[in-house]
Amino acid sequence: MAVVKQFIFLVAFCYARFLYYSAPYGMVKLAFVDVDQGDAIYMQTVNGKKIIVDGGPNFEVDAYVSKHFLTTDCTIDLLILSHPHFDHLAGLIRVLERCVVSAVVYNQTQYESKEYADFKTAIKGVKAIVPKQGDLLTVDGVVLKVVSVGLQNDSNLNNASLVLLVKSGTYEVLLTGDLEFAGLKEIDSLELTKYIAGELEVYKAAHHGSRNGLYMPLVDQLDLQTCVISLGKNNKYGHPSPDVINYFNSRKCKIFRTDLFGSIEFLFE
């Protein structure tokens, strides 16, 4: 029957898609997902464990994650929220409602919003980890160091962002959330550089490449190689700031922007 042949074709096609999107064997994949104006980072370890940091303001992160599974099931090993602003949160709620999540990491910032309330409802029953500065979260050989838990008492929620240094072998990725000057100032750059072996392979520009996310005393100390800016096309905030672009160019840091390139993927040994 024609329908049976069609389904055989579809199964084969689906499998091919799955093979294409899964990381090559033995490599770690780290992706800055294009979620329009927002942040969402996806990581897949050597043995297929999955980590998500922030979920963007829509369900695009779910679409991205689903490409790495053969069919409709979904398991996430670590789900991390940097801070409860909508443009980092909405997609996480979607993932939580569909996928089986093993553990959630968020710093329990005080904040009132419907989405944050929905998030807290969605994580009921999931093991919650409240990070402390210096903590190391390890998932299958990938280590996430909690560089900063942000300023919990700052009036600007962006400064409560969790900052993580992801390390896989000798590759490091610094995820800065939406941290602005006040929060960035508190990060001890000497401590940070001690933990980085050689170059910092990937630096995520804080706060979608805005000027207040660029704290020079900190970034000057980092040996930048690649700079990623996660933002939406024609966003209403004027991101990225030309100052940030100029700075990265002056540091010879290769710039990758999600508004121009879509999702940006890195593969590490």
């Binding site: 329908v3 069609q6 389904f7 579809l10 199964v11 096609f13 689906c14 898609r17 294009d34 979620v35 329009d36 829509n58 369900f59 695009e60 779910d62 679409a63 994650v65 689903s66 069919t71 409709t72 979904c74 979607r94 409602e97 569909r98 879509g262």
Partner: protein
């Protein structure tokens, strides 16, 4: 055309024009009568259902399914993917359209047996009307319902109705009923696409060597529908999708499959949790093929280009096409 028909169409057109001019502001294109059909009850039922679907299927597969079957537009959930649909010229797939109506109509008739029993037809009319209502009562769907019903009635009475007239008639009736439809993009595009399909399906199919297989049939339908549609999209949206014919040819065959299995899946979601879990990976397959192809083709630089046709050029194009059509295929 016979004098009697001329008078009927002339009167209807005049009435439609009067209706538009009297209830609409031509510069803002806003009219005073808006059809708001979905009641609150329907809304909550739909969102309960959607919640359950979203727990079983990932985005954007869930949004696609919901759009194709129950007509809700949830694509603001996936703005990047929505843009990819526009770039590849496949966004028309994700709405409930005349195709769905004919599918449901055909299924009901098949299940009841004969297409020539009056009560079977009546039942099918009612079911499809109900479906049109549930899916939001959008202009393209109502138009398709009117057309489908008229043609089925015609068949019942043994008369083959001239389909262009049926299309024009249903268009006029719709505008008389609600003049704001005249300015609705979905109405305009579906009208143009249907007219284009009616006029150019056979010529294009012939030029491609006849309907040898499913892909070729879909390709000729896509090309036929595009003839009157692409310049209008260029005029209104200022873009042209260059990959549209190819992508449509490659994905259209999954739409009836996804709609029927999707319908079964939704039925399962309503009645049985365990059954819906079983069907989810099955409905996932055609949807995933669709999503993957759209993702792949939208990555091409030239998938969609910025190209605007100005109004005089648009009108000139239609006049030329009309002229060529009458000379070549109508004698």
């Amino acid at each position: 055309m016979a004098n009697r028909q001329l008078i009927i169409y002339g009167t209807l057109t005049l009435l439609a024009l009067v209706r538009i001019v009297s209830s609409c502001n031509l510069s803002t294109q806003k009219c005073t009568t808006e059809a708001a059909v979905a009641s609150n009850f329907l809304r909550t039922q739909k969102s309960d259902l959607e919640h359950k679907i979203f727990a079983l299927l990932p985005s954007p597969h869930a949004e696609l399914l919901v759009g194709m079957t129950i007509g809700d537009d949830l694509f603001k959930n996936v703005p990047i993917f929505k843009q990819k649909l526009k770039d590849t010229g496949t966004i028309h797939v994700v709405v409930v359209s005349g195709f769905n109506i004919s599918l449901v109509f055909g299924l009901v008739i098949k299940m009841l047996g004969s297409a020539y029993l009056k009560r079977n037809l009546l039942f099918a009319f009612c079911i499809t009307f109900f479906y049109a209502l549930i899916s939001g009562f959008e202009p393209p769907v109502i138009r398709a319902w009117i057309m489908g019903s008229l043609i089925a009635l015609g068949k019942y009475y043994g008369r083959k109705l001239p389909i262009v007239q049926v299309l024009v008639f249903s268009g006029l009736v719709l505008v008389l009923f609600n003049p704001s439809y005249f300015f609705s993009f979905s109405f305009q595009l579906s009208f143009l696409a249907t007219l284009s399909l009616i006029l150019f399906s056979e010529p294009i199919s012939g030029a491609l060597g006849g309907a040898k297989n499913l892909l070729l049939t879909d390709l000729s339908s896509t090309l036929a529908a595009q003839i009157l549609v692409w310049p209008y999209i260029s005029y209104q949206f200022k873009t042209v999708s260059l990959v549209s014919p190819l992508v449509n040819m490659l994905v259209l065959w999954t739409v009836p499959l996804a709609t029927v299995i999707g319908g079964l899946f939704i039925f399962a979601v309503i009645v049985s949790q365990s059954l819906s879990v079983l069907i989810a990976p099955i409905i996932f397959l055609p949807l995933d093929y669709f999503v993957t192809l759209i993702d792949m083709f939208s990555k091409l630089e030239f998938a969609s280009i910025d190209f605007t046709i100005r109004l005089p050029v648009l009108v000139f194009y239609y006049i030329v096409i009309g002229f060529v059509y009458f000379k070549k295929w109508r004698l």
